[in-house]
């Protein structure tokens, strides 16, 4: 078994604006099971960060517990990271963001980590519209503890051992929209063409960007009868749109058939170009997005793509109207009001 990645790279590997190749965004060699969907999502994050030319030292990866939560070791090896306790990634991310709002936050979680033990935290981080990318690597099971059904396992889905899941599934995407998440997307680990632009858009979105990514657990949940297997997902996937992420205002407009194409502007002026495949659905309308999700569910389809986006809502820093500088950069001279001021402040309370 190899523990180290060879240091060699393709001699003609392209470089991004910062002069970095994809390699500079990789992490150490994965120890997840061979073929785990989570590794593909890691690779998509690497690709997205490379393409967006993000500076690795301006990123923080925060995760909980689970195979999914282990992945930050396997991407962005030159970035900050915090592997927290089970289900508690949101509060660590919130704290980190409050201290330093200048970093790009990747929260990485699993369906167990978010939909069971961490549900309370998940709900509140959405409610606060924390400026972060929140990725759930959703495999319908607790991979790390050997594949028990999770809360996102579909009712009727068959486990590897043959038992049928009797409970209804929590639909994280619908729930996120319902709770007021400002960016909600759904995708599949096996579809990088869709996943990479979604991650890029999520990185640009100011506010809570939620990505529910179906990610087969090859070891415990890739059996016939499972609704989170590679085969099942490929057969039931239904993309809302094909999409392109356009970092800056585009000069050439991609030509889509009229009526099918929408451009969604994000805060910083970047655009998401959608070529809609699903009709009766408006990604800027919560009701329509939830409707589309419910309809797909009734048809046993997995609706993917950018489902909902709202660029108007303020993120947590906006709501709290925090200081323009990150708190961790304020030193004594910024923080200490001076004896005179202190006396007058104190006096005002007397």
């Amino acid at each position: 078994m190899s523990y180290l990645k060879p240091l060699f790279k393709h001699p003609r590997l392209p470089k991004n604006k910062l002069g970095y190749t994809l390699k500079e965004y990789e992490g150490s060699l994965s120890t997840l099971c061979a073929g785990c969907g989570h590794d593909s999502i890691s690779a998509a994050i690497v690709q997205a960060c490379y393409e967006m030319s993000v500076e690795p030292h301006k990123v923080a990866k925060i995760s909980g517990i689970g195979c999914s939560s282990k992945t930050p070791t396997y991407f962005l090896g030159n970035s900050h990271g915090f592997n927290s306790v089970h289900g508690r990634m949101p509060s660590v991310a919130t704290g980190a963001s409050m201290a330093n709002k200048d970093l790009l936050y990747f929260g990485v979680s699993g369906d167990g980590d978010s939909a069971s033990i961490g549900m309370g935290q998940f709900v509140h981080v959405i409610r606060r519209n924390l400026n972060m990318v929140y990725i759930v690597m959703n495999n319908g099971c607790y991979g790390l503890t050997k594949g028990q059904d999770s809360a996102t396992a579909d009712q009727g889905s068959k486990s590897k051992a043959g038992s049928i899941n009797p409970f209804q599934a929590i639909d994280l995407a619908s729930m996120a929209i319902e709770l007021g998440a400002s960016f909600v997307a759904q995708s599949f680990s096996g579809d990088k063409q869709q996943l990479v632009p979604l991650i890029k858009a999520a990185m640009q979105h100011k506010g809570f960007a939620f990505l529910n990514v179906i990610s087969p657990c090859v070891t415990f949940n890739n059996n016939p009868g499972s609704t989170k297997s590679y085969d099942y997902v490929r057969e039931h996937i239904e993309a809302t749109s094909t999409l392109d992420f356009v970092p800056e205002m585009p000069e050439i407009k991609a030509s889509y058939e009229s009526g099918q194409s929408t451009s969604l502007a994000l805060h910083d002026g970047s655009l998401v170009q959608l070529n809609k495949l699903a009709t009766d659905w408006d990604p800027e309308n919560r009701i329509s997005a939830v409707n589309a999700l419910q309809q797909a569910r009734a048809k046993q389809e997995i609706l993917t793509g950018l489902l909902y986006v709202n660029s108007e809502w303020k993120d947590l820093h906006g709501v709290l109207n925090t200081y323009h500088m990150p708190l961790n950069r304020l030193d004594e001279s910024d923080l200490c009001p001076g004896e005179e001021n202190l006396l007058s402040i104190n006096a005002s309370y007397r």
């Binding site: 790279k9 060699l29 593909s40 070891t219």
Partner: protein, 601 residues
């Protein structure tokens, strides 16, 4: 593109860059692993089976394998393939026990070999075990051809040469040394079943028209004749100031030998720029190291003779100009001519074939350049019984090419003697074996050392220049050799893909350190090459294209910079990738029963 046909042995053969580039197709990575496992005897035999002269070639080979080495494409320097071969030879145990053991049951056929160089000796080795009675004629005192007469002892010690020549002669070859064959007709009249001509390219080029050539004749020598004279101890000294004309390997051997016979100011003067010289870079380095001056861009004008004594040579200074096609012309710079003083001159400007002893009325055709017409595949001349190989076939090359020719000529001679069609050649011996030992375990060392190439130590100049027989290179010690073996990328351990097992999880594509693998919609080759993660711009390397996958895409692997690290196979959940060792052994007249010793762990 159509799915790649990996059933064709040539596909995987081509992936093993070094072996593919080697004229004799020596299974390089196989012997390198054996050296790493300290199995020097086995490593030697893998070589011997294929290239017949491992000890000699481990010191003198032209190494076409090294520029081809994959390592050059992912790093800077190739694996020291050639010098590792020598390590096997230096440290081997009893190898004779693994060689075909005579006496062999006669098959009643008689074959004559003219010339005793590497080409003829290879034919002898391949035919003797099949029971052929072999008669070898050579005008020299012993076998080895130019390996004996030309390659100086400080590069190739006589013991090494004798040992490897004798392995063959000891197989019951009937030798007639000191016998110059002056008529092919008389040989043919002896009723041989076949005749092999391995007489080399024995004629050194001269500069007959250059003024002063005749007058200075006593002080002017043809390089290869002079080297032979040194080897056979007719020439024991040379003047203090020596000019060597020419920029090839012969010139390098001449100048370095001169330094050992009393030459103090030895100058190599060459028409071309230094970079364009034909000599291998390492030969030039060695010459410079021995205080030999290399003067480039000088065209010889005349030999200057005063009172019957050579005093030097005049040269015109030129510069090289290249046109769009890279074709070079040498233009005079206009500077005044230069006189370089010298006591003796060695002319080392090339060799030619010459066949004065072959009668032109035997039905053996010669072409407009006075070269025999020889079939490139079968090595048969237009006289069905007469075969050519080595330098005699298509002009001067090198030892390993002579060996490669010898193997093919032996196959032809055997087919011919059995009355079979020479064009229906037996297939090479191939084998493809999985290296899987456990879920993530391989029976080869898949990790890759990032080490730079190790340097072979040399003996002190003060010692080597005093004794022309003192070998300059000392060879790797076994510890360094081990480290150098770890630089090998095991290109013979193939990435074998089985499309119907792939679930398209992308794991292999994501993990590949050199971005070799892409899953994409199929297209014609030029477009497909552009569509890969990193466009496949090295067109000398093939694409491995799978059958259609479930999603309708194909897996495309660019063989160009694959490290054979096995990570794709380690990360594949379904064993759609497997690492399988490919062995390719060139067709030979006599295939050794256990073709090659295997590593046992």
């Amino acid at each position: 593109m159509k799915p790649t046909n990996t059933q064709n042995p040539e596909y995987y053969h081509k992936v093993v860059d070094c072996q593919y580039a080697c004229p004799a197709h020596t299974p390089v990575p196989e012997y390198i692993r054996l050296i790493a496992a300290e199995k020097y005897t086995e490593a030697y035999m893998v070589n011997w089976e294929s290239n017949v002269f491992p000890g000699i070639l481990g010191r003198t080979c032209d190494r076409p394998c090294e520029p081809a080495c994959r390592r050059v494409r992912v790093e800077e320097e190739p694996v020291a393939i050639c010098r590792l071969k020598r390590v096997a030879a230096d440290n081997k145990g009893d190898v004779k026990q693994y060689m075909p053991q005579g006496p062999f049951t006669p098959n009643g056929k008689k074959v004559c070999l003219i010339g005793g160089g590497p080409a003829s000796l290879t034919v002898a080795r391949d035919l003797a075990p099949l029971g052929y009675e072999i008669h070898l004629y050579d005008e020299q005192i012993a076998g080895g051809g130019m390996m004996r007469s030309q390659i100086p002892s400080f590069r190739l010690p006589e013991e090494v040469l004798n040992e490897e020549v004798n392995y063959i002669l000891d197989m019951g070859i009937q030798t007639q040394f000191l016998t110059y064959v002056d008529s092919l007709k008389s040989i043919l009249s002896k009723n041989y079943d076949a005749v092999f001509v391995g007489t080399g390219a024995p004629k050194g080029r001269d500069l007959p028209k250059l003024p002063g050539r005749k007058e200075g004749d006593k002080f002017i020598h043809i390089g290869i004749e002079w080297l032979a004279g040194v080897a056979f101890e007719h020439n024991k000294s040379i003047g203090k100031r020596v000019i060597v004309l020419g920029g090839g390997n012969t010139a390098m051997d001449c100048c370095r030998t001169s330094r050992r016979l009393g030459g103090k100011e030895v100058k190599v003067v060459v028409r071309s720029p230094f970079e364009d010289m034909k000599a291998s870079p390492w030969e030039k380095e060695d010459a410079l190291h021995e205080d030999i001056q290399i003067i480039d861009n000088h065209v010889p004008l005349s030999f200057e003779v005063l009172n019957g004594k050579l005093i030097g040579m005049k040269f015109q200074k030129v510069k090289a100009l290249y046109d769009e096609n890279g074709k070079r012309s040498l233009l005079p710079t206009g500077e005044s001519d230069v006189l370089i003083e010298a006591d003796e001159v060695l002319i080392a400007i090339g060799q030619e074939n010459s066949f004065p002893w072959i009668e032109r009325d035997l039905g053996l055709e010669f072409d407009q350049w006075n070269m025999p017409v020889v079939d490139k595949l079968t090595f048969q001349s237009t006289h069905p019984k007469v075969f050519f190989g080595g330098d005699a076939a298509f002009g001067p090359e090198n030892v390993i090419t002579a060996v490669a020719h010898g193997h093919q000529a032996a196959v032809s001679i055997h087919l011919f003697c059995e009355g079979k069609n020479l064009r229906e050649r037996p297939s090479p011996y191939t084998n493809l074996v999985s290296q899987k030992m456990g879920i993530h375990e391989w029976s080869y060392d898949s990790g890759i050392a990032i080490d730079q190439r190790f340097v072979v130590p040399q003996a002190e100049k003060a010692i080597t220049l005093k004794d022309r027989k003192k070998e300059v290179e000392l060879g790797f010690d076994v510890q360094t050799a081990f480290k150098e073996t770890q630089r090998c990328l095991n290109c013979d351990v193939q990435t074998v893909f089985t499309a119907d097992r792939c679930i398209e999880c992308d794991a292999c594509m994501d993990v590949c350190p050199t971005s070799c693998i892409t899953f994409t919609a199929n297209a014609e080759e030029p477009e497909l090459r552009q569509k890969l993660l990193v466009p496949a711009e090295n067109h000398t390397q093939d694409l491995l294209v799978s059958e259609g996958l479930k999603t309708g895409r194909v897996m495309v692997k660019d063989e160009d910079v694959c490290l054979h690290c096995g990570l794709c196979a380690e990360r594949c959940p379904t064993s759609a990738w497997d690492m399988q060792k490919f062995l390719y052994s060139v067709t030979k007249a006599y295939q050794m029963p256990e073709p090659l010793p295997q590593i046992s762990k």
